[in-house]
Amino acid sequence: MSSELAIRVLDMGKRYRLGERQPYRRLGESIFNALRRPFKTGGERTENEFLWAIRNITFDVTRGEVLGVIGENGAGKTTLLRILAHITHPTEGRAEIYGKVGSLLEVGTGFHPELNGRENVYLNGAILGMSRSEITKKYDEIVDFAQIDSFMETPVKHYSTGMRVRLAFSVAAHLDPEILFIDEVLSVGDASFQARCLKKMEEVAGAGRTVLFVSHNLGAVNGLCSRCIWMEHGKVRMDGDPQTVIESYLSTGFSSEARWRHPDDATCGQQVRISTVEVIDEDGSPDVNVQYDQPVRIRVRWDARQHVEDLQVILRITDTAGTTILSTSDQDSNPGSGSWDVGCYSYVCEVPGPLLRPGRYLVSVYATSRRIVHEEHTFVVAFDVIPGVARVRPGVIVPRLRWTLQPSAERTLSQ
C-alpha cells in the first residue's frame, strides 16, 4: 500500500559554531578577533569548533500520521523541529513539506500584556498564521474552549498565569493546518485543562492531519502517536511503533545516571524551579544501585523564585513499561506546609526497603500549586533495585509486614 507524503527529511544536519549560541556578540570583540587572526575565515575552522546538533537525519512522514519524537534533553529534537518550522536553516540536507504548516513551539508567543484578551486572540492567531477572517469565524469557539469569556475585555497583564496559558493554548488549538508541529506544550496549565488539551489533540490527530509531536511526556506520546522516533545525540536511534520504541527508550535510554540537573536552556517555572533530582545512598552521594532491603533515597533540590502558596512536590516512580508503581507528595509528611518564601530547599524522600522488586525504576518529579503545574519532568533519573543477599519473594511488591499474634480468647483448640 502506498500513501500520500506529508514530510520528507533527507540527510538533514545542523551545525552550530561553539560559542555562537551566546546571547549576542560585541562588535569590538569581533573586530579584535578579525585583526588578531586575519586569515581565519569560515572555511578554515577546525571541526572541533563546531557542534552538530543533528546530523544525517532522514525520514518520511505520511499524511495523517501522528509522529512522536522522544529523546533526552540535547538530543536534537527541538533543533529538528525548529528547522522544519523554518525558524532556523539546516547546514546540510533538505526537507520537503507537503501542505500548510502550523507550528506550536510555545504557547502564548507574542501575547502583549497591554492588549485585552480579544485583541490578543487576533494578534496571536495572526502570528500563528491564521487570517483575520479565520479568527473571526473561530473566535467564539476559542473563547469557549478557554472558558474565560468574562475576561476578554481585560488587559492580559491582569490575567493569572493559568488564564493566560488557557487562552493561548485555545488559540493554538484552533489552528487549522494540514501539518502541525508541537513542542512540549502540554506541560502547562492545571490538570483538568491538560486533559482537555490532550483531548483536543486527539481530535486533531483523528481528523487526518499530520502531527509532529516532540515531548517528554511518554504517556502522551504513547496515547496519541501512531509512530515514534527516538533521537539520541542528534541521530535517529529508533523509529517505529510507539510502544516498542518507548519501551526500549526506557530500558536503555538511561545509563547509570543517578543525578539530574535542570537544563539551563529549558523553560522553567516562573515561581518554582526544580534544580536537581538524585538517587543517593546513606552518605548523600549519588548512587543508582539500591540493595533490595535498603530504603531508596531520592533527593529533590528546588528553588522558590517567588513566594508560593499551596505548593506540592510530587515524586512518581514508574517501571520500565511505564506503569506507575507509586506516587508520593511532600504533603504526606507535612500536611498543609505549602507556603514557601524565596529560597533554595532540599527534600529527601525515603521509600522504605524492602518494598520494590529488584529491577529498574524511573523517577518523575512535579511541582504544582492548586491551579498551576510549575514544573514537570518525566523520567529524570533511573535507579536499580538489586537483589543483594536476601532472598527475593514472589509478588509485585515485596514489603515485610507486621504480623501480630492475637490472644486466642474466643476460639479454643478443637477437641
Binding site: Y98, G110, L115, A126
Partner: protein
C-alpha cells in the same frame, strides 16, 4: 511500512541556503496581514499608561522648534526668506521627528521581538518594515500643528502642500532602509543599540534642519545631498513655506542613494537573517 509517495509539489522546501537575490518579497506580500496586526498592536499600545497619551507625538517637534527658534534663530541667516522662524523650523521637524522615531523603532525591532522570532516563523522583514508605519499617526498630528502655526504666522497654504504625502513616503522609506541595516546588525551586535541615538543626533545636526542649505558650498552639495533626509527636509520646506525653487539638487541624489540603500539593505538583511536566529 507503506511506501510514501508525493502526489503534488512540495509547498515548501527547506534547504541550507537560498540565492543572493531571493529577497523574499513574495513571501512578505503573502503575510501582509501579520504586518498589519503588528502595526495595529504598536499603534494601540504606544501611548497606554501615559498621561498625555498621543500628545507626546507632537510635543517633541514642538519643543525642538521652540528651542531652535530661541537658541539658533539668530544663526539662521538673514535675507533670502521672509518665512517666520518657527514655521521654517517646524517644516523641517515634521519629517525629521517621523524619521527619527521610526528609525529608532526599526533598529530595535528584531531584538525586541526576539522571543517571537525564536519560536514562530514569519518573514522577519516584516519587523523593520512595520515599525515605520505607526509613526504616520504622529506625522499627521504634527502636520495639524504645523497647519495651526502657518495660520498663526499668516503663511499662505499653497497647492505645493499636495507633495506632503510624497514627503511622508520618502521619509518612511529612508527610515526603513536605514532600519534594515541597523536592525539586523543590532541582533548580532548590541553596540548598535548604543550607537543609534548617537547616529540620530549626528544626523539631526548635519541635516539641513538648523543649517540653511544656502550655506553649503555648491560643489559639495551633491555629496551632502546623498543623505536622503536632506532632500526630504528641503522638499517639506519648499512645500510649506511656499518660497524658492523645487530643491531638485537635493532630492535627486537622495533618491539615488535611497534606492541603493534599500536594495543593498534587503540583500544584507536576507544574508544575515539566518545568522540572527542562532544568535539573538
Amino acid at each position: 511500512m507503506s511506501e510514501a509517495v508525493a502526489v503534488r509539489e512540495p509547498e515548501d522546501v527547506i534547504t541550507p541556503r537560498r540565492g543572493w537575490f531571493d529577497l523574499g518579497l513574495k513571501e512578505l506580500w503573502r503575510t501582509r496581514e501579520l504586518a498589519y496586526f503588528f502595526m495595529w498592536r504598536d499603534v494601540k499600545v504606544r501611548y497606554k499608561q501615559t498621561v498625555i497619551g498621543a500628545g507626546w507625538a507632537v510635543i517633541s517637534p514642538i519643543v525642538l522648534m521652540v528651542v531652535f527658534t530661541l537658541v539658533f534663530g539668530k544663526l539662521r541667516g538673514s535675507g533670502a526668506t521672509t518665512v517666520p522662524t518657527p514655521v521654517w523650523y517646524f517644516s523641517a521637524l515634521l519629517p525629521w521627528s517621523y524619521f527619527s522615531g521610526s528609525l529608532q523603532a526599526a533598529s530595535s525591532s528584531i531584538v525586541s521581538a526576539q522571543q517571537v522570532v525564536q519560536k514562530i516563523y514569519f518573514p522577519r522583514l516584516i519587523l523593520p518594515l512595520e515599525s515605520v508605519f505607526p509613526g504616520i499617526v504622529d506625522f499627521i498630528m504634527s502636520f495639524l500643528v504645523l497647519a495651526v502655526l502657518m495660520t498663526v504666522y499668516h503663511v499662505p497654504f499653497t497647492s505645493r502642500l499636495a507633495i506632503i504625502p510624497v514627503v511622508l513616503i520618502f521619509t518612511g522609506l529612508t527610515a526603513f532602509a536605514a532600519g534594515l541595516w541597523l536592525s539586523a546588525t543590532n541582533a548580532l551586535y548590541r553596540d548598535i543599540r548604543e550607537a543609534t541615538p548617537f547616529l540620530i543626533q549626528i544626523l539631526l545636526f548635519t541635516s539641513p534642519i538648523l543649517l540653511a542649505p544656502r550655506k553649503i558650498p555648491p560643489s559639495f552639495r551633491p555629496y551632502y545631498a546623498l543623505n536622503p533626509i536632506a532632500g526630504v527636509i528641503e522638499m517639506s520646506r519648499w512645500a510649506v513655506t511656499g518660497v524658492g525653487k523645487f530643491p531638485t539638487g537635493f532630492v535627486l541624489p537622495g533618491i539615488a542613494s535611497l534606492v541603493v540603500m534599500i536594495f543593498t539593505g534587503l540583500i544584507y538583511f536576507r544574508r544575515i537573517e539566518d545568522l540572527i536566529i542562532d544568535v539573538v
